[in-house]
Symmetry: C2
Subunit: 97 residues, 2 copies
C-alpha cells in the first residue's frame, strides 16, 4: 500500500475559523464536493485556520475567500470552478443550470 498521507494531486482544502464555529459548514461543503467529484477528486481536507477565515482551495488556487468575496460560497459556483479545472466534460446536472 502506498503512503496515504502523501500529497494528493487533486486536492481541495477547506480552511475555516474554529472560533466562528464554521466546522459544520466546512464539513457540509466537503461532502457536497466529494459527492459530486467522487471519481475525480483525490481528497477534500478540512483545516482549522485563523480568525474569520473561510476559504476553499483547489491545489494551489484559492476558489473562494470569504473576506474577498464578502460572504460564504454557494455550492454551485464552487462545483463549476472545480469541474472546469479537473473534469471539464463532467455534467453537473442541476448545478449547471
Amino acid at each position: 500500500m502506498t503512503d496515504k498521507t502523501s500529497q494528493a494531486r487533486r486536492r481541495v482544502v477547506i480552511r475555516y475559523c474554529p472560533g466562528c464555529r464554521w466546522l459544520a459548514r466546512a464539513a457540509w461543503m466537503a461532502q457536497e464536493l466529494l459527492q459530486t467529484f467522487e471519481g475525480t477528486l483525490d481528497e477534500v481536507a478540512i483545516a482549522p485556520a485563523e480568525s474569520g477565515v473561510f476559504q476553499i482551495w483547489l491545489n494551489d488556487v484559492c476558489l473562494h475567500d470569504r473576506r474577498e468575496a464578502g460572504g460564504f460560497p454557494e455550492t454551485k459556483p464552487v462545483k463549476q470552478m472545480i469541474r472546469d479545472a479537473i473534469a471539464p466534460d463532467q455534467d453537473l446536472g442541476h448545478s449547471d443550470r
Copy 2:
C-alpha cells in the same frame, strides 16, 4: 500566505468506500476529530478509496482499518490514539473514561 496545499504535519486521512455510502460516516468522524483536536491537528482529509475500505490514518500510521478490525471505529479509541501520539497532555474529558 504559504501554500495551503502542501502536506500538513499533523494530518488525519479518512479513507472511505463511496460505493458503500460511507461518506457521511467519514464526514462525521472528521468533525469529531477536528472538534477535539482543533488546536493540534493541521487538517483532516476525507478521501474516496477502494471498495469496502474504511480506514483512519494519522500521518503514515493506520489507526483503524475496518477489514482488520472487523468493524467501524468508535470515536473514543481513535481520539485516544491521536491524543497519545500528538497531544499526550490533552484531557479528552468523557472520551477518556
